[in-house]
Symmetry: C2
Subunit: 472 residues, 2 copies
């Protein structure tokens, strides 16, 4: 309190990434009488999943700006400032420049920070991570990157793989280092990750798989990185190294407030994104704890789409529970594209499903993404689905293909979330068109394949009643 | 019987379009011990929805051939012949060349024929309809069309609109005549049909809307069409006229067998596609009666995708009912693309929903189909959804956009069929990616917009419990 300037809002949102913005838009739309204030440290925010494309396809940080218009036109107010501390008892927050703000509902959307493990040499100049910050990225693009001839990318997850391809477009030599046998090996079953690996090779990315990083070694002069020493003893020479080994929740503010964190490090939240300590305090997005949809285990997925869904749930439930609009758990829907190959996954991989104990029935199909396959621009879709043998529920799917790949994954995601069974999906109707789709829907066709495999013969498949009815 | 050659099969399928082929594939996969014979009159069958593209994009009939491989590799047998008659009592069929075939299960997939109403002058040379027949289409492309300078297309439905654009690519002057105020006016609410109209104009198709056809008039010589006289008295000169006014079920064989037809003219079938007279006789696709998913009224949709779904249902239920794999009714999912505009509809239009008595809540959204919108190749998606105010169920949706349009409609279709409510959809998770999708899912965002409009304020929206829980 004291002599600070003091202002009042109804809803205070801390952070302006996808989770915070979506919470703000939804809050302003759902509770029209309430004032919604969003505080974030940067005037211009970047679209997080667009960050790799700043360095190639888009060619500039200004080409990756997230719009504020939907939030402002919904009636929200945006202040550029830092939230220094929150007083829970007092229901107020101290902002660096603006002073003290009183609130009725607080939404923490403080995001995540890249992980930089204690690898020897990580303090060398030229070793960097990706911060989702306009000025940082702009400097990286315009000051640092033009001097780079050879880049080592440590970590073959989505960020590493997308960065590798984009930076390659600048003519930089790129080495991708991944401890697993293939890039994206944690997200995909080997068939897909091998295809991604092949495409990366085609665009000229040099792959070093099955080997970890022992150290960053200094080049001439001793201050700047000159190479990455791999755990097999070999050296990958480079004049810059991107560490893309994931991110951890940014919970400094939450910890300062005494909020409970989950074992996975995120702010503990219930199905309405409310904190344990105070149902007026919400957390959404990368800073919030997530549970897997199927297993209820902690999920470490950090996805803008998931963050936005959580922001929407918090926004809708701020001043009254809408009982059916709760977080059912994370269905990680990942999709990406390298060169002309689009690929993605929704739900469980086969390895994970089997490790969890599911008895899995898989079905797959290959189809052209236009039809007939002679239509211009046709690419092959490969769709592979996993079902639980007992409940017949869809557990997950992986798709490679063309422009429709992510929406096919979203079809899989909606079928998972609406608890569709193989029998349900097999009799669903879908539309098709020569210029826009496969001749039959890949999800239906792959489900049909799974049903054929269910018991080795159609008569054993679920939903069958053995009596002969047609002669009756 | 008599002296005919006689052969035996277990399953006899009459017709080899999408319905027959899918019935055959599914039958062969689902009932591995059974012999599946498919009889169709043509050696080479065209992909029906690809037909318009033969005349432009594909450039040849051979580029639009439907594959037989999936059916043959599933173990089916294909015979090119005509089925002359079926003896129900005897469970046999007489084929023109092959002789008599005995069957245990009969699947009628005899398709549809184009309608040619009794418009004066319809017998003139140069007045034609589209038959889904390889030789007919090949002759049209290679013999008839090269002589055409000006084509009149009568009927602005999907076939008419797609033909108009494709034929235009050959440099032919094209006039499109549609009785309704806009093309596709029966399928779309006016906003979409106006956009299609504008794009048709941009590719040089000349539109004559709000006027019917009075007569086809002869040109010089008196034998060939020289113009279309419109009901407003004006004359559209042409040297050929395509009549694209829809199709009617081809039920000659079914009528000869004494099967009951529905009032809409298709073979009456139950939810397993079985005929009224004999549960061993099935009908699928355009020749079979359809019911609308919502209203149970006769549906006149004739779609390859719907036909394939019916074929699948029949194939799965031939020798035993799989109780959950029945036809839930037709959700007509139409999609198409003219120039760079993709568009489509799933379920009810607003006009139809209101006429049926639904209290409709609509929600809509405009989003880029990549994100940020600076990504190369970005097109705007416009998604508009309709919900029933009382049950909160999704009734239908219309989408315009780019390459993902049809799969977004399929997302709407699956949500309708799995009986999702606005509340369900609002809290669904979807994946996103800069190169592949909008920043937020258009279906979720449009649902959010509908919820805001539900009662004028968020507090009145469905699923809200009024008590203040956050202070509790």
């Amino acid at each position: 309190m004291g002599s600070d300037v003091e202002s009042v809002t109804d809803v205070l949102i801390v952070g302006g990434g996808p989770a915070g913005m979506m919470a703000g838009i939804t809050a302003a739309q759902s509770w029209p009488g309430k004032r919604v204030l969003l505080v974030r440290p940067e005037a211009d925010a970047v679209v997080p999943c667009g960050i790799p494309y700043i360095f190639g396809t888009l060619g500039g940080t200004d080409e990756d700006l997230a719009g504020r218009a939907p939030f402002l036109s919904a009636g929200g107010r945006l202040v550029v400032d830092h939230v220094v501390a929150v007083d829970r008892g007092d229901r107020s927050a101290v902002l660096g420049r603006t002073g003290r703000v009183r609130w009725e509902r607080l939404v923490l959307a403080t995001g995540s920070e890249p992980v930089l493990p204690p690898i020897p040499g990580r303090e060398l100049s030229g070793v960097f991570t990706i911060h989702k910050n306009y000025e940082y990225l702009d400097r990286l693009l315009s000051v640092d990157l033009p001097a780079v001839r050879t880049l080592a990318v440590v970590g073959g997850g989505f960020i590493g793989v997308e960065f590798a391809e984009e930076v390659r477009k600048r003519g930089i030599e790129v080495h991708l280092i991944e401890q697993q046998p293939h890039p994206l090996a944690n997200s995909f079953d080997p068939e897909v990750s091998r295809r991604v690996e092949a495409v990366l090779g085609q665009v000229g990315v040099k792959l070093h798989t099955g080997t970890g990083v022992a150290a960053f070694e200094a080049g001439e002069g001793g201050e700047r990185v000159g190479g990455v020493r791999l755990s097999d003893g070999s050296l990958v020479p480079c004049d810059a190294a991107l560490v893309a080994l994931g991110a951890r929740p940014n919970t400094r503010l939450a910890e300062g407030m005494g909020l409970t964190l989950s074992r996975s490090g995120g702010v503990w939240v219930d199905g309405f994104q409310r904190s344990r300590e105070d149902p007026a305090i919400f957390a959404v997005g990368d800073c919030a704890h997530k549970q897997d949809f199927f297993t209820r285990h902690a999920s470490h997925a950090m996805l803008a789409s998931q963050a936005a869904a959580e922001g929407r749930i918090a926004g809708m439930n701020l001043y009254g529970l809408r009982l059916l609009r709760a977080n059912a758990g994370t269905i990680a829907v990942y999709a990406s594209r390298i060169a002309d190959l689009s690929f993605g996954v929704a739900g469980l991989t086969e390895a994970t499903a089997r490790a969890l104990g599911f008895s899995v029935v898989a079905g797959s199909v290959r189809l052209p993404d236009h039809h007939p396959a002679t239509m211009p621009g046709t690419q092959e879709i490969h769709c592979r689905l996993l079902f639980d043998r007992v409940s017949e529920r869809l557990l997950g799917g992986q798709v490679t293909g063309g422009a429709t790949t992510a929406e096919l994954l979203n079809t899989i995601a909606i079928a998972i979330q609406l608890r569709a069974t193989a029998t349900d999906i097999a009799s669903l109707q879908f539309g098709s068109h020569p210029r826009l789709t496969a001749p039959v829907h890949p999800v239906v066709a792959a489900t049909g394949d799974a049903l054929v495999r269910w018991g080795g013969s159609g008569a054993d498949a679920p939903g069958t009643t053995p009596q002969e009815v047609a002669d009756g």
